[in-house]
């Protein structure tokens, strides 16, 4: 804490004082306090685990090419989908969208030199690989088998592996809470002078709403898995009906976190889209206040809807109604966002960069996922759809078609700022089409398969395929398309590494974007801003000069500021 606070201390010092640079490999790249380096660490760790968890998903899909199970035993299949879900939710999505994007972009966009507590930030990151090791080591004991939700009593049969699962999730929960706390304080206290709440970029609003949920909800998750851990290891009867415990209690505690968790993935993606669309449509974001307000509304409503995951699972009928109504209420701010983004691209001058393609694709796939959520929110219809592959299709449209698409839009967008070089545009666009087509091909047929009666989490479906022979075709179809998505992610990883050396030089502001990070060199120096800038307007007015004073450089040295240009290669760090 001491060294951490001294850093923030200097970050907020008079504008001329910058602390000395970190020295040595370990200080610079391993136990770095620099939010940008920590962002990279999150990015590469998340991407690596994404490969592992993604290959689990491909094994799951391969198994389902045959109604009797093509490649593995039921037990192995159950382990695969459990590990896929667990790793993707806690070790891939949350680290990527809050850890990587939030860490790299947020301090730059608010004009700060670092986050509020750099030491805490470093500790948050280093918990992640530890939690990953604990989680994957559970596979040595047979792995978890009860899905990513690990409902007792079935999860209690997992023994040591189940206990390790709880430990891993508990640990990663602590990391999320600390990140949330850190980001809340950073955004509330460390914005550049003049950056009032209504002048913040929308990505900052999104990060703020996410940090709030991270800070509050994740603790509830820690309690749920902590209690499950106590039951595993010490046989404490929270969830054991024979000793007066309740299995439904776990579901309440779990979903109180895990519903906000969905918004923890998706709201940063909202933020990314709110940055990418105006930049490439050359138009101010439409309805700034409504988008900012709806992010906050969603993050607060997120705490009031958890029981919609449990309609048939043992809650009183009268309890279902308020949760159905509150879930519908979330549809309103979400709708406001979608319509505002549509209005943002209307009348613009749209440049089809790969970021923009992902953002446009996001609008379509996320809307689809949101609308299928409206079906599930209705109690009667949910009594039919609950526990089917329709639900799987729905949340993959939201998570892969929402959160991951948003993340994939962010990678080419901020890659030049992070590395100083452009991501190869042709490969990135190819990646978009692979991902978009693969996503729809994989998850769309799940909707009608689920309605026909295919339950989720089934290692075989011979009984179902007897009644509905088309199920075999559609499952094979899904598996084939899922490999397109895998290819897209592989291509992205290749592109990210290849472009480090071979990408075109980016210059300060290749996209003609208008937030603060585009006023400093690419990649930014370790202290970010030589002088802390002053802000006097929102960043999205394309017909105005940039609304910043006291930036590193005089504005007129860079004629592209305040105007809009397609990428023009420039020498790295020109003039910085």
């Amino acid at each position: 804490m001491q060294a951490g606070t001294s850093t923030t201390h200097e970050a907020h010092d008079a504008h001329d004082h910058i602390h000395p640079p970190p020295e040595g490999f370990v200080r610079k790249y391993v136990f770095s306090l620099d939010h940008k380096v920590i962002g990279f660490q999150y990015f590469f760790t998340g991407l690596l685990i994404m490969f592992i968890a993604g290959s689990f998903a491909e094994l799951v899909r391969l198994q389902l090419t045959d109604p009797n199970g093509a490649i593995m035993s039921h037990t192995a299949y159950n382990e695969m989908f459990s590990m896929h879900g667990t790793a993707m939710v806690w070790l891939v999505l949350i680290p990527l969208v809050t850890g990587a994007l939030g860490n790299f972009v947020m301090p730059l966009q608010i004009g700060a030199r670092d986050v509020a507590f750099p030491w805490l930030n470093m500790a948050s990151f280093w918990i992640l690989p530890v939690a990953a090791l604990i989680l994957f080591s559970s596979m040595l004991w047979g792995g978890p088998h009860a899905g990513w939700t690990e409902y007792p009593p079935i999860s209690l049969a997992d023994g040591t592996a189940g206990a390790l699962w709880c430990l891993a999730i508990f640990t990663i929960g602590i990391s999320s809470t600390m990140t949330g706390l850190n980001f809340m304080v950073t955004i509330m206290k460390m914005r550049a002078p003049g950056m009032t709440w209504t002048r913040m970029p929308l990505f900052i609003w999104a990060t703020f709403a996410t940090a709030l949920m991270n800070m509050v909800a994740t603790v509830a998750l820690s309690v749920a898995v902590g209690a499950l851990f106590l039951e595993h290891v010490f046989s404490v009867p929270f969830f054991d009906p024979a000793r007066g415990g309740s299995v439904v209690l776990y579901q309440h505690m779990f979903w109180f976190y895990s519903h906000p968790a969905v918004y923890i993935f998706i709201i940063p993606a909202f933020g990314v889209v709110s940055e990418v669309l105006p930049t490439f449509a050359r138009k101010p974001i439409f309805g700034y206040k409504m988008i900012a307000f709806s992010s906050m509304a969603i993050s607060i409503l997120a705490f009031t809807v958890w029981m919609h995951h449990m309609f048939p699972s043992g809650i009183a009928p009268w309890l279902q109604l308020p949760f159905m109504i509150l879930t519908y209420a979330i549809g309103i701010p979400t709708g406001i966002k979608i319509f505002s983004w549509m209005a943002t691209i209307w009348g613009g001058r749209i440049h089809f960069t790969s970021s923009m393609l992902y953002a446009l694709g996001f609008l379509i796939t996320f809307t689809f996922g949101g609308l299928s959520g409206i079906f599930l929110a209705s109690v009667p219809v949910d009594l039919h759809m609950h526990g089917t592959v329709f639900v799987v299709g729905h949340f993959h449209y939201v998570v892969a078609g929402g959160a991951v698409m948003g993340f994939l839009a962010a990678v080419p967008y901020w890659y030049p700022k992070a590395t100083g070089r452009m991501l190869n545009e042709r490969l990135a666009q190819l990646g978009f089409w692979l991902f978009f087509i693969g996503l729809n091909g994989t998850f769309l047929p799940m909707h009608w398969l689920g309605l026909e009666g295919m339950p989720r989490r089934t290692a075989t479906y011979a009984g179902f395929a007897k009644a509905f022979p088309d199920a075999v075709f559609w499952n094979q179809f899904e598996t084939a398309f899922s490999f397109l998505m895998a290819a897209a992610i592989g291509l992205l990883a290749f592109n990210v590494i290849w472009s480090l050396r071979h990408g075109t030089l980016a210059g300060i502001n290749p996209w003609g974007a208008r937030t603060l990070e585009w006023t400093i060199s690419s990649p930014p120096p370790y202290y970010n801003f030589k002088k802390i800038p002053q802000v006097f307007d929102r960043p999205y007015n394309f017909d105005q000069p940039l609304p910043y004073r006291n930036t590193d450089n005089e504005l007129d040295e860079f004629p592209e500021f305040g105007r809009v240009l397609m990428p023009i290669p420039q020498p790295v760090g020109a003039g910085a």
Partner: protein, 367 residues
Amino acid sequence: MFQSPSVVRFKGLGPGFWPVTIVLALLSIANAWYFLYGNIDWIMPGASQPVADRASDIDGLFKFMAVSSGAIMIFVAGYVIYFAIAFRARPTDSPDTIGVQIHDSPKLELWWTVLPALLLILLTALSINVWYKIYFGTKAPALTMEVIGHQFYFEFRYPGLKTSVFSKTEPMHLPVGVPVRLLITSTDVIHQFWVPEIRLKSAGVPGLVQSLNFTPLRTGTYDIACAEFCGADHSLMRGKLVIEPVATFNKWLDSENKTAAAGGGAINLAGGSAGTGKTLFAQKCAACHNNPPTPFDQKLVGPGLLHITDDPAHPTLVTGKTPTPEHIAEILQNGFTGPIGTMPNRQANGLSDKDIANAVAYLTSLK
């Protein structure tokens, strides 16, 4: 220095806006037509001829949602694609061309807040209507039976039937046209009883009884599936439901009873030993009933059994019958499911005829 950029110009709402809108509207109408009048049995099996009364209610709700959200999807996707094409940057643009600088439109934003809100309020009203029918619509079920989940089969208990029906070997039977109530629970982990054609499902939760109410409307054989992950062979936990005319159903019930009588027979309660019964109680019953036995209201999972024969506050058994040894033996044989909870039958508890006689002797000896 800063130069004003050139702002793009176009007429009205953009080139071809209204024709595109008309095409999207036509597509929405076609979508609505398909869901309302087309044959959607391939998406919702049995939609054209509802298998149960609640199925037609739920299908009505589903169709309303498919029509309205289908229209929203068509317009959002259509406009996104249209805007992207109509307002694309042209190679002839000067590098500083920008879009029209509109920041907001309170009127438009009010509309797209209020209209979806109204749609959602309507949807809530329709959902509550169906919800009420599902949970409170069946006033007096003619058949109340129990569905108990096990790893990995369902057990069905019919009133008056001495043995259970197991989904592994036999289909579940229901009479057509008769309101039924299924009481659903589980003895090990969480299961979910689901018949896709009936559209209803409910979790079998250990320690909790939930009910499903509906009236089967169409005869036939349908699949039963477990919809909550319940262990290694969850995917094999399936069964068949036969919905048949009342006469056939009653005949089936009779034949089941005969088979049961041939196999089991009435239990001879004479000669039961209360001492052996006490040991048995500690082994087999104490998991759910307090041991030593307590008064009725001091429950563990099941009620206390201390004054089972002479409790003035509870003159009858949970089955509503007088507390004679024969009626107590009946509960031990058949098990019990009701608002108070679920007790497994003799097969699940592994009770022999002799065991039952001993347990009854012990229970009736308690004063």
